[in-house]
Symmetry: D2
Subunit: 342 residues, 4 copies
């Protein structure tokens, strides 16, 4: 375990980038965080808080100048493909956040480059696969404890408190739409748990909770029903209106039992008995909900590099999730059932 | 309160008929149970357990011979229309179980007859509208406590333990299909809570949990996605595979809060800490889940008769729920989105 | 079942008296409510709401003049003994609320009178023994499903919202002290579940939540630890400060599992997801918590009369519970361990 | 943060020692794990799993020969004092597991030595103070959100599955008794939350669940009632019989609300709906329940060393908890109320 450390850099110090940076620096003994690349105003934080002196605003320069083994790509989604391609061509292992990108053409190039560097690790940020609750459920399903899967329901619903900042973000950038933005992980979970692919979808969306989103061509809530290739049925709900917090919930109905993960997104083991009733405090965002999974996925990345193993979730998994999210969006836009081609 | 009692008879002493009979006889002071009409083998029970001497196997004869004010119709669904028509024409108030019938033609006749007897009470068995949990939720919604409704999800899932008896029943009779059999109440709840009508549906169904149902043209699980006329989205899940018990669940997502009713169908206030984990025992069937609602709906029927008020849930509500269930079924059968005409 | 009805009267139309009156009149077919005796201002309610014309302010007069089979005694606790004695001597069956009385001398007389009328039913209002949650737990314990009882914990805690009215009441009357007022049912449950008697207790009490109670020699919270004759240990907590509602909770630790009853006193099957967190609404008082048990205990009283069977909970059970509550109070008053003589 | 690492060794590689060793080596960037001292058979694990080459069976030799800044003492409780004294005299910072020791004389020496080295950090393993649930509750209490504390209840109950190994352990060693072994942390929490000291206790104990413990002078379950110096009342329950898992629960009743921590010791966010009912899987032992707290307490130890700050929980806190546990035990042994001298 106390072998030579993996020399690593991070591109992007936004909310999630900062989490990865802190986890690499403080919660993990596998990596040496050598350099960061981010917007000028974020670099100060890296210097003072993490003690990183090698800071860049140009990721190419950083990759060229530093002696790196691997890189974490947490920049704008649209840039994931070019950053990944540059890093792979420079011989680095790549951890790239989700989703792979926004337009399929550049993502396809990215995928080809990944395939042409089979000895380098490429891992994408499907952190939910490292969450202890999903892992517990996965094992139960694999052990046949709930029989055959019949129906699966995934919710990805952001707290209402974030709607303003989302509106700003979506005004400036392409969010990719409600399903890409909110349900990409749910789509991955549906595929991971069932081991099957969706073939058709009918999706609906509305802005009842946030009429202001109409102007920027966004939906607050989207609901997609999917038919899987083996007859399993799925429902995805994406939204940004949860008054109580951050609701990421997955229900798996089996022929001999059901599992719900995150039914109540409890923050801790505290129960309150107050004039509000009997209350469980709940998590407020993905940072809180998946704090440990973010730590565990980078441990797994280090292990993959050391053991020369590719991660279970491949780039194809990322590509398919992207295509499925886009098919749901297309169904909303066309008001029709959409066949899903993977 | 201690006025003259309402003279009443019951047609049908199956599972639900027996519940109504016992409730009328033992849990209510408004009615005198004068006579029953049922299959020969069930009459003995009425004599010995309820002390009813006036027993019939022909409902027409009973209505003709006894001096009745009202009748409870709990016979086979297909006979609901003719029984209702006969009773109304004989001047009786009618409480008729759900659904109104199976074929639309006879139901339409039934509806016309009801309309031509406006002074007689006609009440159908939407007992969920009398359940304290739904009433509590309804009041919250009406008070605006969860804002505007965005999405609504209704589950009607029978216990796995009943699948054999269902198979026998459905082999012999027309169940009406998964949505009519399992979700008619959920459809009523969606309409009741939203105050709006569905306009389109896409439904899917499978027999993963009960392949034997293929032979008798039934589905074990059905899932319907509905678009409401105001943009609200709904999901209905009907099934017969719940390993834990009887799951009737309704979720109402509002722009300022959510309500779930029956998320865990707790049987009582007991929590167990055993080698199985921390366990809440749950209700096993509709009899247990809605025992109090069955008592309360007949109290309301008596009050309607005494006060000459028609029930909130009208025959049109019953008719529309029937049409919506049939539209869902048609979507499964045709594999297409179906427009709903009400 | 449709036999001759039991002619019954009620003495006392306070909060609980009114509940019994309504249940007798509306939720039960066994009794004819013939007459009521109460304070003048309460009689109007009985006339208009229940249609009772035979109303009295003198219970002796009512018992003498009406042709009664049985009587419900829901008057002031201090009068329970004399009322019971008078009714028994008049040949009536008696249902008497808890506790039996406040001073042991009159209660002892009452007990002797009960013993000298063995053919008349005497039932006291241990309604918890009719609550479905306790019955479910009792059966589990009897079936050995949690092994041998090790420890038992009972909470009887009133809502904070009632503290003002309690203060008024306790200023005017003798509440009997925190343990008699709040834990008499818990004491009965400890005895009922374990089948054993407490032999010693050490009790503490404080007024941290309600310093104003000092002036009237009352305690807001009391905690008693009891040693049972077989080594089982018990803790009783009585209080009047619950911000969330009415917490009546019983925990039974067994050598092979635990049971908690009323851990969260859920009002219904509703779960709320709001900006307060994930919330279960809870019951607010004993009326709400035990509404069904109040109905069921009077059904059992009718059945006992018809079947000439004495209730499971005897007058000795009532007497012992009273003595135990007084021993706990004495421990607080003397600041010492108290030996319990039953 | 990326300063020079703290050179550290660990004494003891039992269950908890191995956890600390792994956490130091893998979950933390503050320490360099230089050496370990343990029984011969445990050293192999340290070599192969942690890559530690400097291994010892004599802790004095290790402290003398290695260039250490700090040491983790996780050896047998009885040796905590002499190990601490040796390490402090050698100039090291000390993290010592709970409890401080078993006999008061050697603990008093230990305390004196700690006081005579005020510039060296001494931290004891009150890891619960680092658990996010307790921290959340502590903040609520400090913010006055539940008003004034009235009553506090702490459970420390080990899983039934561990009773055999406990029996072996307690046959060979002095466990210190049920309260010292199971409730030392609960005692600390009572003091931490209330900010007050207990003045008297009456404790009871039994072996109903494990009669075999009689032979070795141990109790399976102990219950202590405590009177605090400000009138607050507390109940402690220690046991080793939990069929469902590891129940560490704390209830804090306040004059304006209650908090329960660990009411149901949920393992994760999974809810199961199976033929067992609705089930929450639960944690099985302290390793699982406090895994994050063990990580966080050593981070805090590192921060204390770097910042030259003594931990919030002082050695006096450890000493008082020890004395209180012993007073509870004495009450069981003498069958009397015991005054607590701190």
């Amino acid at each position: 375990m106390n072998n030579k450390k993996i020399r690593v850099a991070i591109i992007g110090l936004g909310r999630l980038g900062a989490i990865h940076a802190k986890n690499v620096a403080e919660q993990n003994n596998d990596f040496d965080l050598i350099a960061v690349c981010a917007a000028e105003e974020q670099l100060k934080w890296a210097k003072t808080q993490l003690g990183i002196s090698a800071t860049y605003t140009d990721y190419r320069k950083m990759i060229d100048e530093e002696q790196l083994d691997a890189v974490f790509i947490v920049g704008p989604t649209a840039l994931h493909p070019e950053m990944t391609i540059y890093a792979l061509n420079a011989g680095l292992h790549v951890f790239c956040e989700k989703p792979l990108g926004v337009d399929l053409q550049s993502v396809n190039e990215m995928v080809q480059t990944i395939h042409s560097h089979p000895k380098q690790i490429f891992q994408s940020g499907f952190m939910r696969r490292f969450d202890s609750s999903y892992l517990y459920a996965k094992k139960m399903v694999e052990n046949g404890e709930i029989g055959k899967i019949i129906y699966i329901r995934g919710y990805g619903i952001d707290p209402l408190s974030g709607i303003e900042s989302f509106t700003k973000f979506a005004t400036a950038s392409d969010s990719g739409g409600i399903f890409l933005d909110m349900n990409i992980h749910d789509i991955d979970l549906v595929r991971w748990f069932t081991g099957h692919e969706p073939v058709r979808t009918w999706a609906l969306a509305n802005n009842i909770a946030a009429p202001e989103l109409e102007k920027i061509n966004e939906y607050e809530t989207g609901v997609a029903q999917l038919e899987m290739d083996d007859g399993v049925i799925a429902t995805l709900v994406g939204g940004r209106h949860a008054a109580h917090g951050y609701q990421v919930e997955l229900e798996i109905m089996g022929s001999n039992g059901w599992i719900r993960i995150g039914e109540h997104p409890e923050k801790n083991l505290v129960t309150l008995f107050t004039n509000k009733g009997v209350v469980r405090p709940v998590v407020q965002d993905f940072v809180e909900r998946f704090s440990q999974a973010f730590i565990d996925e980078i441990k797994a990345f280090a292990a993959n590099i050391k053991n020369k193993t590719q991660p279970e979730a491949t780039v194809e998994d990322g590509l398919k999730a992207l295509k499925i999210a886009k098919a749901c969006q297309k169904s909303v836009d066309t008001n029709q059932i959409v066949d899903i081609k993977l």
